[in-house]
């Protein structure tokens, strides 16, 4: 059970049960859709950008606890951040969930995202954790096609 507790940390279980910013965003000016064909996860990310600033962000869709919590925590983290800051966080997050075991992360840098540090022990779940971020990236870039993890 110890490895499982690493993966399913309380924060993740909580965001899975009560996802934040889980609705369609009125007045969104950027959206993107993401799929994970492996498990059937599907997700929409909505953004309201003012210049380069994420004024508001939300998501909808269906997915596993990891992808849902990842989307929830992502939206909570990014409100008020700039596009450039969001991209840096995505990179940090991606590094964290794919890093070799033993690599540690600066708590300040990753903040709440640290809850996902257990994902790297479950390689097949990395895509679940990163799907919301890939979808966000597509929305920020204004891409039209749906994002797929495959």
């Amino acid at each position: 059970m110890s490895d499982l507790r690493e993966l399913y940390q309380e924060v993740i279980l909580d965001h899975n049960k009560r996802p934040r910013n889980f609705q369609k965003l009125e007045g969104a000016n950027r959206t993107a859709e993401g799929y994970n064909p492996l498990c059937g996860d599907q997700l929409m990310v909505y953004l309201r950008m003012e210049d380069d600033m994420i004024k508001d962000i939300s998501f909808q869709g269906s997915g596993c606890a990891i992808s849902k919590a990842s989307a929830s925590i992502m939206t909570a983290t990014l409100k008020g951040k700039t596009k450039a800051e969001a991209e840096v966080l995505f990179e940090t997050f991606h590094k964290m969930v794919t890093a070799d075991l033993g690599v540690t992360f600066d708590q300040l840098e990753v903040g709440k995202l640290a809850a996902f540090s257990g994902v790297r022990e479950f390689p097949v779940r990395v895509k679940c954790a990163t799907l919301p971020w890939h979808t966000l990236h597509a929305a920020l870039e204004g891409k039209r096609e749906a994002v797929s993890t495959e």
Binding site: L4, Y8, C39, G40, D41, S62, C64, A65, V124
Partner: protein, 423 residues
């Protein structure tokens, strides 16, 4: 064909019929001895692919060690021997399916290629704009997409037999769909997502009364029930070797000889010809006309060995044992609060799809895996039927005759653990 129900009647004890010793059978499958995450492997994903008995592994190894050669083309001893083994395997498949002639057995890569062969050869030859193909709401993508491609190419239309909330075909609706424009019916024998055993004999009778030929996707049926293509009177029957305890990359199309003879080739190349000039090519006879290129010889031999093995264990005993195991598993899962079984047909094979309140199937899969329990999660390549049940994904435990009641109990315990974790 005898149904599992009839077979169950001869059980002595539920799940423990006379003459079937699951512990002995398990010895035949070396992979089952291993540990996963420090726990004994509990393999409940046989609908995705089945495990292989030692005799199949040995047959493949022996072929590569002592018999390897190309078939149908050499005059040397090894080639003769390989050809004999390959054709023996074809004859074994013919007997296994009770086909009247080994010529009616075509080797392909698997059920998917089999359906594509029928669609592209028989389908293209016989369909035109306005014609209709009937499939069902519970098909695997491999019995949907090849027909959609054919419809796009010919202007034919796809019609779908609906199902009820238990996952059973609505036969009255099927009757209404059959009409003068219907050219082909293609349905799954046993659903991989729901476990439903469809009344294929009745479907075939109804279609034939309209002069319509029927394709049966037997990928999930062959591992669980004895199939008799002559008793069914089906026109085509496809299956995958790897779900039948044989290697991957080998499968079967059974086709009635007169249909195969009238059909154009599926692919062009070596082996499928009698003579080639730049002006004109004469095609080989059935079944070789449909087997372009060097086939998966070792796979076919492995399939022959799997069939020998199944025959030895006894298909009737296997079906009776699985019936008891399924009943036990259904009871065990149904007793878990918040668990809903998707697919509750009266006639079912050993497949249990389920969802758990508030927990995504993918999370169930990860947690079970930590206990060494292998199940499948997702849409099982059957998205339309899951949509029908309003779920994007399910967790699926699928049984084979090497599974035990103790393994089912381990599954139930692990699911309880999931419920606790997500509580």
């Amino acid at each position: 064909m005898r149904t599992i129900n009839e077979l169950a009647a001869q059980e002595t004890l539920r799940g423990r019929p006379a003459g079937f010793d699951v512990e002995r059978v398990r010895q035949d499958f070396p992979i089952l001895r291993q540990q996963v995450h420090g726990k004994p492997l509990v393999y409940l994903d046989s609908a995705a692919t089945s495990q292989k008995p030692q005799v199949v592994i040995d047959a493949v190894t022996r072929y590569y060690q002592a018999e390897n050669s190309n078939v149908h083309r050499g005059i040397h001893l090894l080639s003769e021997r390989a050809t004999e083994l390959f054709e023996d395997a074809r004859a074994k498949v013919a007997r296994f399916l009770n086909a009247s002639d080994a010529r009616e057995i075509i080797f392909v890569r698997g059920a998917t290629e089999g359906i594509n062969l029928v669609a592209q050869s028989y389908g293209k030859m016989s369909l035109k704009a306005g014609d209709e193909i009937i499939i069902s709401a519970m098909e695997h993508h491999s019995n949907i997409v090849p027909w959609q491609i054919l419809c796009q190419e010919t202007g034919a239309a796809l019609r779908v037999i609906p199902i009820n909330d238990d996952g059973e075909l609505l036969m009255d609706e099927f009757k209404k769909l059959l009409n003068a424009r219907t050219r082909l019916v293609s349905v799954v024998h046993v659903s991989n997502a729901l476990g439903t055993i469809n009344p294929v004999k009745q479907i075939i009778e109804m279609a034939h009364s309209h002069g319509v030929p029927v394709v049966i996707d037997g990928a999930q049926a062959a591992p669980h029930l004895s199939v008799d293509v002559r008793a069914l009177d089906c026109d085509f029957y496809v299956l995958s070797g790897h779900k039948l305890f044989a290697p991957t990359g080998i499968g079967i199309v059974f086709g009635k000889a007169h249909l195969l003879e009238a059909m154009p080739p599926y692919q062009g190349g070596g082996d499928m010809i009698l003579s080639v000039t730049f002006e004109r090519t004469l095609y080989n006879v059935v079944p070789f006309k449909f087997e372009a290129g060097t086939p998966h010889i070792a796979g076919a031999i492995g399939l022959g060995a799997a069939i020998d093995y199944l025959t030895e264990v006894g298909l009737d005993k296997i079906a009776a044992y699985e019936r008891g195991l399924l009943a036990h598993a259904t009871d065990a899962l149904a007793a878990i609060p918040g668990l809903r079984i998707i697919g509750t047909a009266k006639e079912k094979a050993g497949i249990l799809s389920f969802v758990l309140d508030g927990v995504h199937p993918h999370d169930i899969g990860t947690i079970l895996d930590q206990d060494g329990i292998a199940i499948r999660t997702g849409h099982h390549c059957a998205q339309p039927v899951l949509q029908r049940f309003g779920v994007p994904a399910t967790a699926r435990a699928s049984l084979a005759f090497y599974n035990t009641r103790e393994e089912i109990d381990a599954l139930a315990r692990a699911i309880h653990k999931v419920t606790t974790l997500f509580g």
